[in-house]
Symmetry: C2
Subunit: 181 residues, 2 copies
DNA sequence: GTCTATATAGCGATAGAC
DNA sequence: GTCTATCGCTATATAGAC
């Protein structure tokens, strides 16, 4: 676990990139192997099947979410502001794993849908002490879901962001914080 | 246009159902034909290709959104309340077309992603006169997006809704209306 | 650990009978 | 307008050399 083979990580990154940029359909073993710079046989040495590849993405997601929950719990700006600010696309490791998992979920992978629901439940649990009541919690969760939904749509083709950024986002966060606390 | 062939509609409905319940991967011509109760040849008489099938879903979506915009414009409860109330899954024709289009978008179909962005822009235009400012508009749009995102996730497998319903939804709508108007 | 070559199956689409 | 039969391609996965 301490030093995973480099080729294995490269393959997983390539799979994730393909899922994000081209969708599940295009993320074939051939295409992933090509992007990762290995042969199909080489790929299948590290991941025995396509399902194995998907499972690895979901494990990566779980690990990144655990770190995120930890950071959110101790964020100086407060949990709500941290959560909303990090819900816009920054193309970091967690964003990418989330979008990849969403692609898998929508392609019909049941474990991916369950993983995403579990992640959402963890976030809700962490946010609950920081908001006034359940209605306020729903409001914050849904706005974050909305930001992710747009990230997911815009990552499909190379479209520019349709959601607020920078100044507009700061105003939105301010409005939400006034509403929920 | 006045009386489209019944078999054609059955095929389109079957395709939509497969997309929603099993994802784009599983919505093969064989599977769709089987659900619709026709042969693959029969299917391909009505829709020349799989792309043609996807395009028909997007045309259906456009027509249903046009009706929805019309209803929203004259809703007695107000545009914001109408919009939020109809953003939770009711399994009506519009919900189904939206989820199907979202599956196509995430499978890498570029026209689907563009269609969904266009729909979102139409909704924003209709809501704008009903809210205080752009930040408020963003808040309403994102909560609706969040509700759809959860619909989409929960439709993949047979999971129960994770978003507010009935009383909790009414409270959320009330909170949002206080915030944006 | 990575490669090439190949088996096997499923998919989209065509052809032609009825 | 709907069917059966079939073609050609591509995808996943295996076998075995290096």
């Amino acid at each position: 676990m301490a030093r995973p083979p480099l080729a294995r990580e490269r393959v997983l990154d390539a799979y994730e990139s393909m899922l994000i940029a081209e969708g599940e359909r295009a993320a074939t073993l051939d295409a992933v192997a090509r992007i990762a710079g290995v042969s199909k046989g080489g790929l299948l040495y590290h991941f025995a099947s396509k399902d194995d590849l998907a499972a690895a993405i979901l494990r990566r997601l779980d690990a990144l979410v655990e770190e995120d929950i930890e950071r959110m719990s101790h964020a100086a700006e407060g949990r709500v502001a941290y959560y909303m600010r990090t819900s816009v696309m920054e193309d970091d490791a967690l964003d990418r794993a989330l979008i990849a998992a969403s692609r898998l979920a929508q392609a019909g992978h049941p474990d991916a849908a369950e993983a995403l629901r579990r992640v959402r439940a963890q976030w809700a649990e962490t946010l609950r002490p920081a908001v006034r009541d359940e209605t306020a919690l729903q409001l914050v969760m849904l706005i974050s879901d909305g930001l992710y939904y747009n990230n997911i749509l815009d990552s499909a083709d190379g479209a520019g962001p349709t959601t607020p950024k920078d100044g507009a986002l700061a105003e939105l966060i301010e409005l939400v914080e006034r509403t929920v606390s």
